[in-house]
């Protein structure tokens, strides 16, 4: 059974239809990049999968559970799917350790000792073992984004959704975050990410999904997408054809 | 003893409300004029003036209005003068309002970006001309809503003048209570009259704030 199944997903903001029938299945352990022009609906798609945006038609199904608008069901679902944001969204008033411990303690009712042990382990995994007691405000953007990854990992999700997680970073900080993502991919984590880092997408992802005007235009392994694009839009997007 | 109907109570309270309104307006205008003077002292580039203005604001914002009223009432007696309650009330409320208005307006002046002063200076305008032609007009726009809002504080402040014996709405309430033994009704009516005076002002202030801010964001 696949991990995430999207069937004919439609989403509008008022009269403006942003997702016009998206169908896609994602297997456990798959690493997928959503690519496409600005405004093509990539973020909206990720936010729908995480239940942050309601949708009008079609369905999303995660390990057999549908994404609904019922708060209790949504919470159960979000424990299986973590989300990492472009702007990190760390909690500024908590230390890094507390940021990571919060959801395991509050949502999963773990003991403090247990949550702390997990938090230390996850921070170690993203290369920030020594920063447990720092505040987010004392860290660089790259470090903050790695904390955000650790925070999501601490909930032991089945999949991570990542929306342009390196776009807010200074160029020299991008690689430290991508390195963490590469490790996660190698360890078999299911990743669905929106990214403009084409080299990274090519090297790490199993499949690329090219979105255009609210539809999935082409799907395929990186080699195919980059060397044999079928549609004009994709050829324009990857720069093989003038716009 | 004469019997009071609810209508008598309300009529007497409304008559006393005239004095609340008159005192509020007088103190607001007096406070505005004095406050502007203190604002100018506060922002001109003179250390002594700035210090004096800050001390003034600190003292009048850092002590109870009631104490200011008492002192205004008792101080003239030291010189053998007896001032009527309304004079003491007007003086104290004016001095008190001036401190708050000066501070509100200073915030508005500070909210005008430094670049505006600099642009004025680069055009060769004197300090006074920068203030007069560039900064104050912009600050004025920001100041309208909070200034109107402060009017509510002045109206409520006048209630304290009842304590030194000025007969306005609150004092009338106490007098009528003593005559009718109906404190619940009387103070309830007093509260409603204050509300009827203040709420439209509060509402207006918020409305102005929304309106001016929207216009502000638009360009």
């Amino acid at each position: 059974m696949s991990l995430i199944t999207l069937t004919d997903l439609h989403k509008s903001y008022g009269p403006h239809e942003v997702l016009k029938g998206i169908s896609l299945t994602i297997e456990a352990g798959e690493v997928i990049a959503l690519i496409g022009k600005s405004g093509s609906g990539k973020s909206t798609l990720l936010r729908c999968i995480n239940g942050l945006e309601p949708f009008q038609r079609g369905g999303i199904d995660i390990t057999g559970l549908p994404v609904t608008t019922n708060p209790a069901e949504l919470r159960a679902l979000r424990q299986r799917v973590g989300m990492i944001f472009q702007q990190f969204n760390l909690f500024p008033h908590m230390t890094v350790g507390r940021n990571v411990m919060l959801a395991p303690m509050v949502v999963k009712k773990q003991s403090k000792a247990h949550a702390e042990a997990t938090a230390r382990q996850m921070l170690d995994r993203v290369g920030l073992a020594g920063r447990f007691d720092s505040y987010p405000g004392q860290m660089s953007g790259g470090q903050q984004q790695r904390v955000a990854i650790a925070r999501a990992l601490a909930m032991e999700p089945l999949a991570l959704l990542c929306d342009e997680i390196t776009s807010a970073l200074d160029p020299e900080l991008v690689n430290e975050v991508l390195a963490v993502m590469r490790d996660l991919a190698r360890q078999g984590m299911t990743l669905v990410m929106v990214t403009h880092e084409m080299r990274f997408a090519r090297e790490v992802c199993h499949r690329l999904v090219f979105m255009h005007q609210g539809r999935i235009h082409e799907v395929g392994p990186p080699a195919e997408i980059f060397t044999a694009p079928k549609t004009t839009e994709l050829r324009q997007f990857i720069g093989l054809e003038p716009v | 003893m004469m019997a009071f109907s609810t209508w008598d109570i309300i009529r007497n309270l409304l008559l006393a409300t005239r004095w609340t309104i008159a005192l509020s307006l007088a103190a607001f205008i007096g406070g505005g004029l004095l406050g502007f003077l203190i604002l100018v002292l506060r922002i001109i580039p003179s250390r002594a003036a700035g210090l004096a203005a800050r001390a003034y604001i600190e003292i009048f914002q850092g002590t109870p209005l009631l104490m200011q009223l008492f002192l205004a009432f008792f101080a003239p007696a030291l010189f053998g003068m007896n001032v009527p309650a309304w004079v003491a009330a007007f003086c104290a409320l004016t001095a008190w309002s001036a401190a708050f208005l000066a501070e509100i307006w200073r915030g508005c002046v500070q909210a005008v970006p430094l670049g505006q002063w600099e642009a004025g200076a680069s055009l060769g305008l004197s300090y006074a001309a920068q203030l007069r032609h560039i900064v104050l007009p912009q600050a004025l726009r920001l100041a309208i809503a909070p200034t109107v809002g402060f009017m509510v504080q002045v109206v409520k402040g006048t209630a304290l003048t009842s304590i030194i014996g000025f007969v306005e709405l609150s004092k009338a309430g106490s007098i009528i209570t003593n005559a009718t033994f109906a404190p619940f009704t009387v103070y309830g009516c007093v509260a409603l009259i204050y509300f009827a005076l203040c709420w439209p002002i509060s509402f207006g202030s918020r409305w102005l704030e929304g309106k001016l801010n929207v216009a502000h964001h638009a360009h």
Binding site: R75, R78, N89, V106 | G62, P64, A159, P183, A191, C198
Partner: protein
């Protein structure tokens, strides 16, 4: 005619002054803690509670903010006994103070909560927190930190406002002044000394609240 100031005649009553300071601080302390607590609850309900409750809190906030504290106090102390609710002077004073600060802090805290960046709420949601858990762990503290200066200013205004409680014979600082002037016949000196004490209290309270803010919101220091 010259007047000879005699502050000594007032200062010999220092025990009354000290007692007054303590009662003023007691009123302020209860008022601040309970009033801000009330404000937090009301702000939470006003932003996300059921409609009727939101409306009731709106009426409460507007009623209190648009009537004088003096009238609120008199209504509670003189008026409520008509409904069978008689309170001692000090209890009425504390209740009035809490209700008054509660209304102001509702508005102040609400503004703080509304300043929460959307990303914070979304991060909480995506981690599976309920609305209330998000409020308690993620939203509240930064919101309080944002509006701490405004809240501190309001607490000081309330402290100065407790002077009015002397009118229902609560033995706070202003009451001490009246008491001393009736004994010493030195009205000006008595009120002058007490005014100075209020100023000192206001400055002290402001510094305490500033330090309290540093202690409560330590992450702000690292900025």
């Amino acid at each position: 005619m010259t007047y000879h100031f005699d502050f000594g005649a007032v200062l010999v009553y220092w025990p009354a002054l000290l007692h007054g300071v303590l009662i003023t601080l007691e009123l302020t302390g209860f008022g601040a803690v309970l009033g801000v607590g009330l404000g937090i609850v009301c702000a939470y309900i006003r932003l996300g509670g059921p409609r009727p409750l939101r409306f009731i809190i709106g009426v409460y906030v507007e009623m209190i903010r648009n009537t004088p504290f003096l009238v609120q106090l008199f209504f509670i102390f003189f008026g409520l006994p008509a409904l069978g609710l008689s309170l001692s002077a000090i209890a009425a004073a504390i209740l009035a103070t809490v209700i008054n600060l509660g209304a102001y802090s509702t508005e102040i805290i609400r503004a703080g909560i509304e300043g929460t960046p959307a990303g914070q709420t979304e991060a909480g949601a995506s981690l599976g927190l309920t609305k209330f858990e998000s409020f308690r762990h993620i939203i509240l503290k930064p919101a309080l930190a944002r509006i701490w200066p405004a809240l501190s200013a309001q607490i000081i205004i309330v402290m100065l406002g407790t002077a009015i409680c002397s009118q229902i014979a609560v033995q706070e600082l202003t009451y001490a002044a009246s008491f001393i002037q009736s004994r010493s016949f030195r009205a000006f000196e008595a009120y002058f000394v007490v005014t100075a004490l209020y100023l000192a209290l206001a400055i002290l309270l402001r510094q305490t609240l500033r330090l309290g803010g540093k202690f409560l919101f330590p992450w702000e220091r690292s900025r």
